[in-house]
Symmetry: C2
């Protein structure tokens, strides 16, 4: 499919389309159009058709997209037609909230374990998980073959823990610490920093 050449910006929209399609499917809808999907996600119909057509011919002129079929295709493209095990690093407020979050499984992810270095937290529960000793993090992540981690440690520790995650074989990090991480080129990082997103909006106010 030549997926290597598809722009990042296109890829970044696919999870948003998938999310909207999954909502439609939950409502019992069977087909949709690029117009309808576009209005839902705030993208033009032409852009949606262009984005999706890069991966194949998934829609039919006049009848639109079969929602379940398009969901299956997008899940395959995004590699979430499987479940990715995840580790949470840091059992503070955010780490605990993520440990209890119910929105991962139907989107291709599952929390497997949570780590913290604080002796007072180790052994406590966070959601359904027993908080594990961060000293054993590298070994446990490597043994479990975990490739995806959510990082919720304080800023001062974030880079050091990131280096350990890379060493443990993690390839994708969702970073809640408000700091840019330095990683090798084959490691992916996404940032979940509320203040950054808020500042992006205040510019326009």
């Amino acid at each position: 499919m030549g997926t290597e050449k598809i722009p990042d910006i296109t890829i970044s929209r696919l999870p948003i389309y998938l999310r909207a399609l999954q909502r439609m499917a939950e409502k019992g809808l069977q087909t949709t159009s690029s117009q309808e999907l576009g209005e839902l996600v705030g993208v033009t119909a032409a852009q949606i058709r262009k984005d999706i057509s890069q991966f194949g011919e998934f829609g039919k002129q006049g009848t639109g997209y079969n929602i379940l079929f398009l969901i299956a295709q997008l899940r395959e493209i995004l590699k979430v037609n499987r479940i990715w095990d995840m580790a949470i690093i840091g059992a503070g407020d955010m780490g605990r909230a993520l440990a209890r979050y119910q929105g991962f499984l139907d989107r291709g992810f599952r929390v497997l374990t949570i780590f913290d270095k604080d002796a007072e937290k180790i052994g406590d529960k966070a959601g359904d998980f027993i908080i594990q000793d961060a000293a054993r993090m590298v070994k446990k992540i490597r043994q479990a073959g975990i490739k995806v981690a959510m990082l919720t440690v304080p800023v001062a520790e974030a880079q050091e823990v990131t280096d350990q995650l890379v060493q443990a074989g993690v390839k994708a990090i969702l970073n809640y610490a408000p700091i840019n991480l330095t990683v090798p080129p084959d490691i992916h990082v996404q940032y979940m920093d509320p203040a950054t997103h808020l500042q992006w909006m205040t510019y326009y106010l």
Copy 2:
């Protein structure tokens, strides 16, 4: 300055530059270069120079950028040279985590109040805040002149609450509910949906 014409993608990078510059300032650094800043945030030096030069001549050839001066300029551009009061809607795990989050104030934001519709939660504490009755949300937000809200309610309630926030005069919504919101054109929404960001990364694994 003709700021109307500056692309969204440029604006989206400014909070990231600002965050990195604030870390440098905390470390006691006084000047930086587009190379150094670029390495820190994963953007080319040329892109940084181009982005920043759209707002004026803030750097000097050979001596680079004065960090505190550039911070002040970026804060002004992003309108966070003031403090924006915020409301949190939804006192679940995520709402409570945000109520206790310490990373807002030095970046231009302050939580003022938190609402929930659950009678069992109203009157409880979330961080330093007493959880308020969501039935009074529109009136209280309007009275307080709050323009920024963080939305952490369940998916099924997110659009209805959004409509109320718009009615109350809110102009910027940081949405933690994994659903696209429909808002008037002058309302800004940013999405904080971990599964979407995770799916964006798994494509590349």
